[in-house]
């Protein structure tokens, strides 16, 4: 048998190929089982780019369902809280065209505020809040935990007495940072860092005086 294979070149090649094919097939099959990925990794990546406000403005009940829909081929421009930046990031990830936002863009981050005198304690907003950011009990005044509120305004509609306002979120001094300068042709609006740079010309003559 072995001699026959060794003598017959074509047979040797076929056997070798068969052995190779079988072993690689086994290897691939094992790897497929061993390194099996639970769930769709693309959905995770898309979900990570979405703003997680869980507002449902895209027509899906939360950000993850929308991420799943996008991976199935839905449009990437249905997320108003994310705005242009999210669309650009999604287009970048998925290699799709950037599209203008479908719907109205949110200009400033907002936060829900309950006018507490008017609240009747119906708990409807508590049930609507996707991130459990509203505190309260039946027939007791409710209030919004500002730091947890994502500004999705899902609580506004269910309120029977319209006592919830969406207010722009206040920025603390810690969140403040320098704005980008206006660019060439403009005087720097904030002058501090370049103060001394600008006085080089007049300062040259005065150097001796200053020591």
């Amino acid at each position: 048998m072995l001699e026959l294979i060794a003598d017959n070149g074509i047979l040797a090649a076929i056997v070798a190929l068969l052995v190779l094919a079988a072993s690689f097939g086994a290897l691939l099959g094992f790897a497929g089982e061993r390194f099996k990925v639970e769930g769709d990794p693309v959905v995770e990546k898309i979900d990570a780019l979405l703003p997680q406000t869980q507002c449902g403005q895209c027509g899906y009940p939360g950000c993850r369902p929308y991420a799943e829909a996008i991976s199935q081929g839905d449009e990437i421009n249905k997320c108003p809280p994310g705005g242009e930046t999210t669309i650009a990031a999604l287009a970048d990830l998925l290699g799709r065209e950037v599209k203008p936002l479908d719907g109205e863009a949110q200009d400033v981050p907002k936060v829900a505020y309950i006018r507490e005198d008017e609240c009747i304690g119906c708990t409807k907003c508590i049930q609507a809040c996707p991130v459990d950011a509203i505190l309260g009990a039946a027939r007791h005044m409710h209030t919004v935990i500002e730091s947890e509120c994502t500004g999705c305004d899902l609580c506004v509609d269910p309120c029977p007495v319209d006592c919830i306002d969406m207010l722009p979120r206040e920025r603390s001094l810690d969140e403040w940072y320098w704005p980008l300068p206006d660019g060439p042709g403009h005087r720097p609006a904030t002058v501090t860092p370049s103060l001394i740079a600008t006085d080089r010309a007049p300062a040259v003559g005065q150097e001796a005086g200053h020591g």
Partner: protein, 584 residues
């Protein structure tokens, strides 16, 4: 003098220090009103612990530190708390902050409330650290980092050198110079206190050669210490370096004196060095030796709009206007008020602001002295900025990336290693406010990171809520099924046995369901274990901040809810299966 090494780049701006070094250090008049902002340090603002109307004595604590990086605030005069409200504070955005306002009757005494004095040579480390924590000492060089955290550095890093940063390289500022001239002994003793806390083997003093008087005084003081104290451990070493901006930068000074390079995103502690400003050392020593919390600081009042520029030791919270007026402010000549140095400081739009722990210098400049900057011109790609960058970055590249908001590329070019020294601004022939571009880019990147973090947090909360709702629904369903089965049992007892085949099929389906639910239960258990392990790992490592730990706890709770939901479903299915078997 030991061999000096060098850092790349650097510039030689006009010094203008003699303006404020001609007169000795004086004590400022006691103010009748102080405004104490809650955020005079880096980190979380403190929380007021006094009430309006309460009488406080000098040195009494008026606000408590919050969180890990924070510092207490103490009353700097004796008087009555008249308001706790938002007031304008020195901040580049000219914004407001919560402040405690204390007023004193014009002829009222200055009654002190001191902590008991400690001898740092005898006291143990914990006592000293606690004292530093309760005395509100922060870095007085301008950054305001709480000192007790720096003193704890030994817990994570081995320190061999305590570096006293007396370079004071920015033009105009002379506060450290005058501190050393006047209180050299205190500074040296403070250095020994910190050297003991961090177990440093030597104390290195780095000073620029434009402060000859301070150098002489220091030499004298070191000789005195050596002759007076036979056991003068650890040894002092004074290194005088040529004046060049920004050798007072922590990383630059370490490179220049020790030839060690602080790694990117790292701290001086990573290369075994702890850096302190002389003023901070003196404040820490006073807190320990005299029990006196940080309620005053030495500030340089300078600029050509002042008649008598000089250095004063003033109580924190004193109105800048009061200090400047006492130094002979010519208000009609004042064109610009700057807190800090002219390279890195911030312009203030009013003199009605309080002196804070971070204010090392106030420059009241005339129009001629610091004229308004000319309009920004396009970049001509001359590369001058790259030549002077002390951090070996590529300022021009960073400028393009910041301008076009290509943040990932800017980070790739080590934007966060920029120390914002302003050397590139200084040499730019097109007057581009480069540092402001970098600051804007850094701000945007930080904000984006913060947003991403918040989104992640919201997602965890949403998932937890979903899991909770699913669990509640599953439990409700299980109960409903149990009730239905109880009812059907009664019904089957009376009714005729129904078709056997259909029942067999039902049983098979129930078995299949139970099997699937068992798998789901195992998966849920594994997920719970994984979440718990992640939480345990993070809390053991001790590096994750509270928010991250909260998120991990939330994930554990979500996994628990999921497990309970599958268990409820499984129990219901098992019951149904048993029911089917008994019926057959």
């Amino acid at each position: 003098m030991a061999k000096a090494f060098d850092f790349p780049g650097g510039i030689h701006p006009p010094q203008r220090k003699t303006l404020s070094t001609r007169t000795p250090l004086i004590q400022a008049a006691l103010p009748t009103r102080v405004v104490l902002p809650m955020d005079q340090h880096i980190g979380t603002p403190a929380e007021p612990c006094v009430e309006v109307g309460q009488r406080v004595r000098t040195g009494e604590r008026v606000a408590l530190a919050q969180g890990l990086i924070s510092a207490d605030v103490h009353a700097s005069i004796t008087g009555t708390v008249t308001a706790i409200e938002e007031r304008p504070v020195p901040h580049p955005s000219q914004g407001k902050r919560l402040c405690v306002v204390i007023e004193r009757e014009p002829d009222g005494d200055d009654e002190w409330c001191l902590m008991p004095p400690l001898d740092w040579r005898q006291a143990d480390d914990d006592t000293l650290l606690e004292r530093l924590m309760h005395s509100g000492v922060v870095g007085l060089g301008g950054a305001g980092f709480p000192s007790q955290i720096k003193a704890r550095v030994r817990e994570l890093h081995a320190i061999d050198t305590l570096l006293v940063n007396a370079a004071e390289c920015e033009p105009y500022i002379t506060a450290d110079d005058l501190t050393l001239r006047t209180y050299a002994d205190d500074v040296l003793e403070g250095a020994r206190l910190f050297a003991r806390l961090c177990r440093a083997e030597r104390i290195l003093i780095g000073i620029e050669d434009n402060k000859p008087e301070a150098i002489d005084t220091l030499k004298q003081a070191i000789d005195n210490v050596v002759t007076r104290d036979t056991q003068s451990e650890p040894p002092f070493e004074l290194k005088v370096i040529a004046t060049r901006y920004p050798s007072g930068g922590e990383k630059q000074l370490i490179k220049r004196l020790l030839n060690r390079e602080v790694p990117s995103h790292g701290l001086p502690a990573d290369v075994g060095v702890l850096c302190h400003n002389p003023g901070t050392l003196r404040a820490a020593l006073r807190a320990v030796r005299d029990g006196e919390p940080l309620i005053s600081r030495i500030v340089t009042l300078t600029g050509e709009a002042l008649d008598h520029p000089g250095n004063v030791e003033a109580r924190l919270g004193t109105s800048m206007h009061e200090l400047l007026t006492a130094a002979g402010l010519k208000e009609h000549e004042l064109a610009r008020l700057v807190m800090g140095g002219p390279m890195m400081g911030m312009a203030l739009d009013s003199t009605a602001l309080p002196l804070v722990k971070k204010s090392n210098c106030l420059i009241a400049a005339t129009e001629r002295e610091l004229p308004a900057p000319p309009p920004e011109q396009p970049c001509i790609r001359c590369g001058a900025c790259e030549q002077v960058c002390p951090a070996s970055l590529l300022p021009q590249q960073l400028y393009w990336f910041s301008k076009s908001r290509e943040h990932d590329k800017a980070e790739l070019f080590n934007l966060f290693d920029c120390i914002e020294c302003g050397a590139c601004n200084y040499v730019c022939p097109s007057h581009i406010p480069l540092v402001q571009y970098y600051q804007a880019a850094k701000g945007e990147i930080r904000e984006r990171r913060h947003e991403a973090h918040k989104a992640e947090h919201a997602r965890h909360r949403f998932e937890f809520r979903q899991a909770r709702l699913a669990r509640e629904a599953a439990e409700k369903e299980a109960k409903r099924q149990a009730r239905a089965q109880a009812a059907s049992r009664v019904a089957t007892r009376t009714a005729q046995p129904s078709r056997e085949a259909a029942q067999g099929e039902d049983a098979a389906a129930a078995k299949e369901q139970v099997k699937q639910l068992r798998i789901a239960q195992a998966a849920a258990k594994a997920a719970l274990r994984k979440a718990e392990k992640a939480l345990a790992r993070a809390s053991e490592a001790g590096e994750a901040d509270q928010d991250d730990l909260d998120d991990l706890e939330l994930q554990v709770a979500t996994a628990q809810e999921n497990l309970r939901a599958t268990e409820a479903r499984l129990a219901a299915a098992q019951q149904a299966e048993q029911q089917g078997e008994t019926r057959r």
